[in-house]
């Protein structure tokens, strides 16, 4: 190596360093050059291939237009020439460098021009409103939005936020506002068993009570079973069953299987103790929540544990990361939360309809329902 630096010329060694240092620096410079060259080559390949194909699509279209009555599949027997390509004997031959001869990029599938810049967010450019673009568009990079530039209204008042609603009742009435088309609301889905329309955020709880065995009836059945003769119950140890209404008694930690595999009895007990202790301060919630339980036939006991997890009083360490994943939480969006309900007025039926109506006007942070999990 006789030159003072490598190919990239980005790293210029000082004169006063030893020859080994110089060598090392010029090797590093060469490696940088290779990295840059690989990146450029990849982009070059994408761009040039797309443009070459565009030239071909364009001229094939001209050829099939020129020869009437030909089916799109057959190769018309015409000779056409454009700036970028020649069409002859059903073959497309390039003329010149497609990078220079072709400006647009046509989608190889729908043959419409590709939009080359995102319409919003980072690097956005206004598209030409007169052009019909291919539907595959550059993804949008904008805080608070997804790759299609969409955002969501808050999941709406639901079971998860009732206590908060009560605390902040005076926060002001809702003023209905038109929401922009790219702000979506949470949809509803039909329960496969009872065929009722349920807001998606409540679907799991609903199915739990409708199909599964976590509803009130199930816990009653379990209680009955226990009083009838408890030694046969196999899955749940009796100790935990007695504690059923208390949150966390079913030890449903994300890693519970592994945990129970490796720890013995004693640590399981310790685990439970911890959990019970943690849930103690929230006993209050349990009580205030009771009246609602009547309205909704099937509030599963597990809901309580969820509630306190998501609730405002839970430890900041737990909720903080979850909250950050929430949607943009401007009051405006929250108000729209009620939207999905009018769409499915009847089918929501007993399921929390009353709650949502009453808490619609409230504006506590809407992150709750979604923060769990």
């Amino acid at each position: 190596m006789d030159s003072s630096t490598g190919r990239a010329g980005l790293i210029r060694p000082r004169d006063d360093i030893g020859s080994m240092d110089k060598l090392a620096q010029s090797v590093l410079d060469d490696v940088l050059y290779n990295i840059i060259s690989d990146l450029v080559m990849k982009t070059h390949r994408e761009e040039k291939t797309a443009k070459a194909n565009t030239a071909a699509i364009h001229i094939e279209k001209l050829a099939s237009d020129a020869s009437e009555g030909s089916t799109p599949d057959s190769k018309p027997d015409v000779r056409i020439e454009t700036d970028a390509a020649i069409y002859e004997d059903g073959k497309v031959l390039l003329k010149g460098n497609p990078l220079q001869t072709t400006k647009d990029i046509l989608c190889p599938k729908c043959h419409l021009p590709r939009l080359l810049h995102p319409t919003d967010g980072k690097g956005a450019k206004k598209p030409d409103p007169t052009v019909l673009y291919c539907k595959r568009q550059p993804f949008i990079e904008k805080p608070g939005c997804d790759i299609y530039g969409q955002s969501w209204v808050g999941p709406g008042p639901g079971r998860g936020k009732k206590k908060k609603d009560m605390e902040k009742k005076e926060d002001g009435p809702a003023t209905p506002e038109q929401r922009p088309p790219n702000v979506l609301s949470f949809p509803s889905a039909t329960c496969s068993k009872c065929k009722r329309c349920i807001l998606v955020t409540r679907l799991n709880n609903h199915m739990g009570s409708c199909i599964g065995n976590s509803g009130r009836n199930a816990s009653r059945a379990a209680a009955q079973k226990m009083s009838n003769g408890n030694s046969q119950t196999d899955q749940t140890p009796p100790s935990s069953q007695k504690a059923t209404p208390a949150p966390g008694s079913r030890a449903a930690s994300p890693r519970k299987r592994d945990a129970s595999e490796d720890v013995g009895e004693e640590s399981e007990n310790a685990h439970k103790k911890k959990k019970l202790k943690a849930s103690n301060p929230k006993k209050v919630i349990l009580k205030t929540g009771k009246p609602n339980l009547n309205k909704k036939d099937s509030k599963p006991p597990s809901q309580l544990s969820q509630e306190h997890k998501a609730g405002p009083t839970s430890s900041p360490g737990e909720t903080a990361p979850k909250k950050s994943t929430g949607l943009g939480m401007s009051p405006v969006k929250k108000l729209k939360a009620s939207r999905p309900i009018p769409n499915s007025p009847l089918k929501n039926g007993g399921d929390a309809e009353v709650d949502s109506e009453s808490s619609m006007t409230l504006s506590s942070p809407p992150a709750v329902a979604q923060t769990t999990a």
């Binding site: 490598g6 090797v27 290779n34 690989d38 080559m41 390949r45 040039k48 194909n53 071909a56 094939e60 497309v92 031959l93 010149g96 460098n97 990078l99 190889p108 729908c110 291919c134 539907k135 595959r136 568009q137 997804d146 790759i147 299609y148 969409q150 969501w152 979506l184 949809p187 889905a189 998606v200 955020t201 679907l203 799991n204 199915m207 739990g208 599964g212 899955q235 079913r250 449903a252 930690s253 994300p254 890693r255 519970k256 299987r257 592994d258 945990a259 490796d262 720890v263 640590s267 310790a270 685990h271 599963p300 969820q306 737990e318 990361p321 979850k322 994943t325 923060t371 769990t372 999990a373």
Partner: protein, 525 residues
Amino acid sequence: MAARPVTPASPKNVKVKTPAPGTPMYGCEHVQRLLTQGQEVMNSSISHYKMILRGIFDTTPIVAQTTNNDGRPVTSITSNFLCLQCPTTLDENERLNHGSKKQHRFYVDSRSGSLYCQMCDDLVWDPTFEDLRIRKMGTGSFSVFSFCNPELTGALCSLSGRKRKHEDLFSENDLRLINTNTTTASCRANGLRGIYNAGATCYQNVVLQSFIHNPLLRNFYLGDGHHDCSIQNCLSCAMDDMFQDFYAHETTNGFTAASILSAFWISEKKAFENLVTTKEQDAHEFFQFLAEELHERNGDGKKPEDGSEHNCDCVIHQTFYGKMQTATTCQNCLSTSNAVQSFLDLSLGLDNVNQKRKKKSQFSRPINLMDCLDEEYLNSDKCEYRCHGCNSTQQARRQTSIKRLPNVLSIQLKRFEFKQGGRDRAASKIDEHVQFPLQLNMLPYTHQSRIREGKENKELERSCIYDLMSVVVHVGELDTGHYMSYCRVGEQWFRFNDHKVEMATISDVLGAKAYILFYIIRTIT
């Protein structure tokens, strides 16, 4: 440098790749002139190009990186150019001289194998040459199909998940059959949608997203792999619907996984009774549940048993299941017994690795995936063992290696530990960052490499290379928190947070505290 041997004229005449509609026949006018001079020139150009590619991708790079500068070999780190028309390697400056002296106009980049045209003064992406290069680069062979070519994977989704040779894949008949019997999906339907959280179901969403972006499962479902099913609330039918929704519809709104959820609730799997609740659950357990349930719907009807060898050709077994072999050697009589068992995923412990590392050095380099794999599938451990030879309980050495690698390798990092402290031990989460690579070589952990120790085998190594496909991340505590995932589509990464999909950079992905990793094999042979 030795001159390349002149290849004898191939008995088979090479043909230009038939261009698909919407693609030009040649990369540029000059390549066209070269390849239309006559069959002889055509044959020699193609065979010469193949030979150059073999030199670049199959042998040590030093050969192609070395030029002969007046009898003095010079090896460079940056690209050289190999003349397509004669056996000469040149650096960038010599290239022009050689061209004007010999009238040779085409050169091959010594690092990438790309074709350079002197007259265009540009790289040329000729369909015929480029096709050879892509195949050689990805698979080491000129005829096998590779996943690293995004264009090919796109086309494959209309075909069944069966392993096919590249040639079969693109026969005229197949294409015609596809064109006449299918409707093309909208350009917007790209499989990128979020999934709504139905109330503490993010542990399901992350696994579902990794399934949706798994090319093998996608091909199976979009290829109508699960059909004529009359089972009520079948989970596989629900998956089928989900794939349709993701890849055929234009909607960009989130997906509501109602049918999957109800199949989940209705399922009566004893082993997963504790999983079916409205609470937060473990994504890894849900993955196991999905795998077993889908195997039952598509497979041989046998229950996959833990600790045994299970051969089934259902889509789940073809995708996820591998086999590992445990060799136990008695320390007394030195007899070895082997046990083979199927695995759905590799569960790697972190605490052992952590402890060992702490003992070894004060410098705390972050743990990486290979440390964990070494610990589990390279190093042996001691155990008590009832030896048949000695007919008594003996100390034994146990070593596990991977006998058959799966097409999609799922790795769970056991991010929990038990705090040492007498009787009062509680499970807690290891929140440490574990480094993992974008490209994973599993060769060292295979049984084959154990047998042929030391011998270098490019072919074998190539068949053990995996690319990162999805990453499942858990944030929060052991018993409550949130799951997100990263999935790769082509070369772009996306972050899936329930219904919200965002672009992600590679450093976002590699910086994540992974819980489950999905790696996909690079080449299917």
